[in-house]
């Protein structure tokens, strides 16, 4: 019989335009990402830990500074209670992922069988779409397929996952980004900038 698991609510806040560091100290893992995609990373990481039920300690650190706007990021995951052995905390090695190739993609069109997307090669630090892909729908998770539409943005990494026992597996992981929502002040500011630009372009002011 499985022991009951306790819930860990993980909530952090960070300015939208700041990098956030998500680290698992016990596994020496660290992700640095913009906070707008942190939720995806947190969810993926927690799911992996929950499945393996080996997570002992999860540390979240951010470089939070005072910002005007904040996204609230929240994820809930079940993890097993930490066994206490004397004064020491037992830590176990975790799976690691070494990407060989990473892309950012945006969906150009969808067919019954494929997702057609433009890709930016993040591995070579490109900023323009230099490749196009025809990806079978089954490469996406069921949840992500539901979210896909033209203009959807995803991260795609292909690389090696190394399990604690030494097993090395080649994996392809696609995560569709949950994009944030527009807030009134952002739209108002953009409209004000547009008014200034309009005056210049049309009246030279």
């Amino acid at each position: 019989m499985n022991k009951p698991l306790r819930n860990l609510d993980l909530t952090t806040s960070a300015p939208l335009d700041r990098d956030v560091v998500l680290s698992d100290a016990s596994a020496n893992l660290e992700f640095r990402e913009s906070s707008s995609v942190l939720k995806d990373l947190v969810t993926a990481q927690m799911d992996r830990f929950a499945k393996q039920r080996k997570a002992e300690r999860i540390a979240i650190s951010t470089n939070v500074t005072q910002g005007v706007r904040f996204d609230t990021l929240s994820s809930t995951v079940e993890i097993p209670p930490t066994p206490v052995l004397g004064m020491a905390t037992l830590t176990r090695p975790q799976a690691t992922f070494s990407p060989l190739q990473e892309w950012e993609g945006y969906v150009v069109s969808l067919t019954d069988t494929h997702v057609l997307a433009n890709l930016v090669d993040l591995t070579s630090e490109a900023t323009r779409p230099g490749q196009q892909a025809e990806i079978p729908r089954e490469e996406f998770s069921d949840a992500d397929i539901e979210k896909l539409s033209e203009g959807s943005v995803f991260r795609w990494a292909i690389g090696y996952q190394r399990l604690p026992g030494g097993t090395k597996t080649r994996v392809s992981q696609i995560i569709v980004r949950d994009l944030p929502k527009w807030i009134a002040s952002e739209l108002d500011e953009a409209k004000q900038r547009a008014a200034v630009l309009f005056k210049f372009l049309n009246r030279g002011e």
């Binding site: 739209l187 547009a194 372009l201």
Partner: protein, 374 residues
């Protein structure tokens, strides 16, 4: 392709097309140059027009007199901000609709926060407007039948006056576009998105270029959908457009069926004009099709493509990545195969036929059709 600069008394038209994008570089005589649209050179990663001018020893700052953006789609505006920054003495023109309030709101909203790694036509246009504002340089607004440029190149050749006239967009196109853009402006609490590739080319600025007796039709991406007052119907039917016949045609919308309109060939072009297209590939779609090639080859024997038809699978991926793609039946192709170009030269007095030079990637449309069949 000739890598020597043209003579002062030569007109040179170089059409670049790497498979996704196009750029037209015009030498109008006497070291005065015009650029229409921009794409990136696959070798240098820089705007194709800039790379070419530098390779033949021409200073863009002093030589380029005019820059036109026919529309704001990714494949016509790549690297345009960098190009314009180098053209310190050039006038700039774009569709009048792109300077209207509704579109500027849309543009500012799209660029209000960088959510994505990928740049887009919208972000490039935003950089262009920012540059113009820094320079206190207002653009010219292109609209159907409006003269955009007049260069009286050299007093020794009175007949070599260069004129560029916009043939589109029509008032109706602009009105319709602005209505459509209003509907795209997001509301509070709606989810942010990356602008999908716009499918409408309604705002494309087709243009008529004349240099002395030479007449050239630049078709941009203007399409024809059989609606009065719009597209090629509006252009051909305009009583105020230039009424000559062109000997050179940069074919509209990559030679596609939607860019084709028979009266353009019968009323605006010579009987057997030189016709050049830039191919286009995106997300599995490709232009021109085999049918498009056959149609064009039935209209003129002098048809060329700036680039080969099919993008190649991406090379130089790590072997495990290539294996993963192969096992997953995933196709990843270069969206911008090597940049090719078709270069045309003739004397400014029009006394000689166009001399055509093809880069290694360019080919006749006959060869292009053969390559599709393979």
């Amino acid at each position: 392709m000739d890598l020597k600069p043209p003579l002062e008394t030569e007109v040179e038209i170089t059409i670049f097309g790497p498979g996704f994008g196009e750029c037209i570089l015009v030498h109008a005589g006497f070291n005065e140059w015009i650029v229409v649209d921009s794409c990136l050179d696959s070798t240098s990663g820089r705007p194709a027009a800039l790379s070419h001018l530098e390779s033949i020893g021409v200073d863009p700052a002093s030589a380029i007199k005019f820059v036109l953006v026919t529309h704001w789609h990714d494949d016509h505006i790549g690297g345009m901000a960098e190009l314009l920054a180098a053209c310190t003495r050039a006038e700039f023109a774009c569709s009048a609709a792109l300077t209207q309030s509704e579109f500027l709101k849309f543009l500012e909203i799209l660029n209000s926060r960088s959510l994505f790694k990928q740049s887009s036509g919208a972000s490039e246009l935003h950089r262009i407007f920012s540059l113009l504002r820094t320079r206190h340089q207002r653009p010219k607004f292109a609209i159907a039948d409006r003269p955009l440029l007049r260069l009286a190149s050299d007093p020794r050749t009175a007949g070599s006056i260069c004129e560029l006239v916009a043939l589109s967009p029509s008032d109706l196109e602009i009105q319709r576009f602005l209505q459509a853009v209003s509907g795209l402006i997001p509301q509070t609490n709606s989810t942010k998105f990356r602008l999908p590739s716009p499918k409408q080319n309604d705002l494309s600025v087709a243009a008529w270029l004349s240099v002395g007796p030479l007449q050239i039709l630049l078709g941009a991406d203007l399409e024809e959908r059989g609606i009065a007052g719009r597209g090629w119907i509006a252009v051909v039917g305009s009583p105020t457009r230039p009424q000559a016949q062109a000997s050179l045609f940069k074919m509209a919308h990559h030679g596609s069926e939607t860019g084709h309109f028979d009266p353009v060939w019968t009323r605006m072009l010579d009987a057997r004009p030189v016709a050049v297209l830039t191919p286009w590939t995106l997300g599995g779609s490709q232009l021109p099709s085999a049918g498009d090639c056959r149609r064009i080859m039935g209209l003129t024997p002098f048809a060329y493509s700036t680039s080969r038809p099919r993008p190649q699978r991406v090379r130089n991926l790590p072997a495990p990545v290539a294996r993963t793609l192969r096992e997953g039946n995933i196709v990843v192709t270069d969206s911008e195969p090597p940049t090719g170009s078709v270069q045309l030269r003739t004397s400014i007095d029009g006394s000689a036929p166009w001399k055509v030079a093809l880069s290694a990637e360019a080919m006749s449309l006959t060869d292009y059709l053969r390559a599709i069949a393979r």
